[in-house]
């Protein structure tokens, strides 16, 4: 049996009075691509932020590589973060540094490798991202797709065991989106990475996912293979897949209580 590298148990999170995650439970197995899918406001970005340790939950635990990230010691977290790479939605490059200097940052901070070795690693990763000869460019000179690929180059510069990718294909033209999906599959296969992708792009989900977790209103409403999701009898998932507007409505009593702010649950 494959051992999970991430285990999320009974995770609850709220912003103010709003419950954003409600009893989320999931596992990510070593070597798989797990896609967390959901519409706007479904809680998927909140879940990602909790997995990255950027947010503290109301209750619940997240174990990554046998470390409980919410009560780990600083040294444990530092060691864990060296095994994790994060590609943020817009690339999140530092605007004052060129592409190469952005990509090399994690190596400068976390290793004592020779400068020439780091230079070669940076050029190698840019080559993999199909961005050869762009190291001298500033982030402001890059297209949306290039920003994402540069962000991905930085995320994988340390060859992490675990890669988180927020909305890899959002806002990209279809060809560039497909290229990024291919890249994600190649990284998993060649570098043995475990990859968690957060997205609402269906084409991407169906192409890359080994397993899909669907969030709706902060709850996990499905957890299975792409075929499981496609064949789900759940109307909310059916509507999402068929790009139908959400017609699910709470019943009258729940609505009434909400109007009177009576019941926060």
């Amino acid at each position: 049996m494959v051992k999970p590298i991430i285990t999320v148990e009974h995770l609850f999170a709220q912003y103010g009075d709003t419950q954003v995650l409600k009893d989320v439970n999931l596992e990510v197995n070593t070597g798989e691509i797990l896609v967390v899918m959901g519409g706007s406001g479904s809680g998927k970005s909140t879940l990602l932020n909790h997995m990255l340790g950027l947010k503290t939950p109301t209750s619940g635990t997240i174990m990554i590589d046998d470390v409980n990230i919410f009560n780990a010691k600083n040294k444990q977290l530092r060691n864990l973060r060296k095994k994790m790479g994060v590609a943020f939605q817009g690339g999140a490059l530092l605007s004052s540094l060129n592409v190469a200097d952005n990509v090399r940052l994690p190596l400068e901070h976390n290793t004592s490798l020779d400068t020439q070795t780091i230079d070669i690693m940076v050029r190698m990763k840019l080559e993999v991202m199909n961005m050869a000869d762009t190291g001298h460019l500033m982030p402001s000179e890059l297209s949306g797709g290039m920003l994402k690929r540069a962000g991905l180059a930085r995320a994988v510069i340390m060859d992490p065991k675990l890669l988180f990718f927020d909305e890899p294909s959002a806002g990209l033209d279809p060809t560039t989106a497909v290229e990024l999906d291919e890249l994600i599959l190649t990284l998993r296969d060649a570098m043995n990475m475990t990859i968690v992708v957060v997205t609402h792009e269906l084409e991407s989900v169906f192409k890359i996912a080994d397993r899909v977790v669907v969030l709706f209103g902060g709850e996990v409403v499905a957890n299975g293979t792409v075929d499981d999701i496609k064949n789900s009898p759940d109307e909310r998932i059916h509507n999402m897949i068929n790009r139908q507007p959400n017609t699910h409505r709470d019943d009258g009593e729940v609505y009434f209580n909400r109007l009177l702010n009576k019941d926060k649950d």
Binding site: T117, I120, M124, T186
Partner: protein
Amino acid sequence: MNIEIEKYNNYQVIKLYGEVDLSNSRSIKLDIIKLIKSKNNIIVDFTHLQYIDSSGMASLVEAFNEAKENDTEFHIVGANGSPLQVLQLTRLNTVFNLADSVEVVGNNG
């Protein structure tokens, strides 16, 4: 990670075992470069290598460059599994001289 160095005809063969990563890639590079500076032809044997990360590959690029500057041969043999995929992913398979085995290179050099 384990490394064995032995002679085969006109070559020094560096056999890599286990995993090459950030923790050991620099020392492996220095070992190989030392041999190159002594004008040895090099075969790096990947047959028993299970994993090599980007720092390992970059270190081998540096060693390969050193070999060119010293006018010595530099070959990688026996790449398979994940290390072969990394060579292909990084397109370094187009950079290095690759062969199936030590014998293929060593008996023809």
